[in-house]
Symmetry: C2
Subunit: 205 residues, 2 copies
DNA sequence: AGTCATATATGACTGTGGTCATATTTAATA
DNA sequence: TATTAAATATGACCACAGTCATATATGACT
């Protein structure tokens, strides 16, 4: 049924596959340029397909919606941060520091391109709602770290870990939103750092 | 320049004004029914105007966008909650209880119509971003209460009140989002109640 | 009542995202 | 090479939000 012989890694890639990859790359290339030039909203699918010299319908063979294309950009960016975060997790610091540092790292990555991040956050919410964002990556990581924190006595023993992680994610998310839409140009990563301390220490006396 | 004589309250309302109010009410009436019947997205402006027996252009004389109409519904709902919150603030409870109760009240109001709340939250964010939501109402109220809390020694003296209020709003907002998009039917108001306690007491030991 | 400036109503029209029946290209099989 | 099935490409087409030039209704003033 299937061709099993493989001489070199890419020998098996058919013309079809090659063309598919080429077309997808072309869309990425053109769209990326246009998004940066004129923003997401004012870039039309028509313009993308014309500039990429493909039919309009073809675009939708590769991306179900215009927003899906945007989300693919987001995914690429996310993968970059993921590597940096992994590195941080391997360091020899306290759980509390780790949590703070990870969030600061993610924050700094977001600080690099405010407008694009805004679009990503918004579109992600529109497509997957809020829950998905929580369940993937960050929240699981936080639950894990908090669990360890209980072991090292850095975190209260009788706490509901999921809710605590939810609070941290919540504060992060809300602070991100506030920063994204704020006019003034304060440092998001500093802001988040202070707020995480507050979550650990509590505001009540 | 202006007619000053007024015999009865409504004698001065011109035919124009009357018709304007009538038309706006008609749009509200028809749209409200359709939104409940088939949801916001699948209700078209065309259908609203046809059922309301007005021209399509007329709709946009009253509401700049379809979403603006939705936001007007939201405003009406907001005003209802506002009264209830004011009542709570007059009670003789601790600052911490007051904060918790106010958020629980708002949560309960949101619990009444999940789908509509989802639309409101989403559209509000789309139109005004996140900052506006914070600055109006809730955040000012929280800053006020926290200030009082410092006076009554319920809240740490040297804390950054704005950031603390931000954390509470953030946790509220994120929990709202999580609840809105979750499949399971847990109690949002209970969830928020526990989380507020966590914010006061901290998670570190 | 008649005149006129202004507020309001209207629907044909436009721009854009997305669909779908049909055409074309590719690759497996004979 | 010839035939055929399946993958892929395509642009005419549709639905819907929003615009705008034009038509109509209203009320102030004479």
């Amino acid at each position: 049924m299937t061709t099993v012989m493989i001489d070199r890694d890419d020998v098996n890639i058919s013309l079809r596959e090659k063309k598919k990859i080429e077309t997808k790359n072309k869309i990425f290339e053109v769209a990326g340029r246009l998004f940066k030039e004129k923003g997401f909203e004012s870039t039309t699918v028509d313009e993308i397909t014309t500039k990429a010299r493909i039919g309009k319908g073809t675009f939708f063979n590769y991306f179900p919606t215009k927003e899906a294309l945007l989300m693919d950009f987001a995914k690429q960016k996310e993968e970059l941060v993921y590597d940096i975060v992994l590195k941080e997790l391997k360091t020899n610091t306290s759980v509390r520091e780790k949590i703070k540092n990870v969030l600061v790292l993610v924050a700094k990555s977001n600080e690099k391109d405010k407008e694009l991040t805004k679009l990503f956050v918004f579109e992600h919410m529109r497509r997957y709602g809020y829950d998905e964002r929580k369940s993937t990556g960050l929240n699981i990581l936080l639950c894990d770290l908090l669990e360890k924190g209980i072991g090292t006595k850095e975190v209260k023993k009788n706490i509901d870990i999921k809710k605590a992680a939810g609070n941290i994610t919540g504060v992060y998310f809300a602070s991100l939103m506030e920063w994204l839409w704020s006019q003034s140009d304060y440092s998001f990563s500093e802001d988040i750092s202070i707020k995480i301390d507050m979550i650990f220490e509590g505001i009540g006396s």
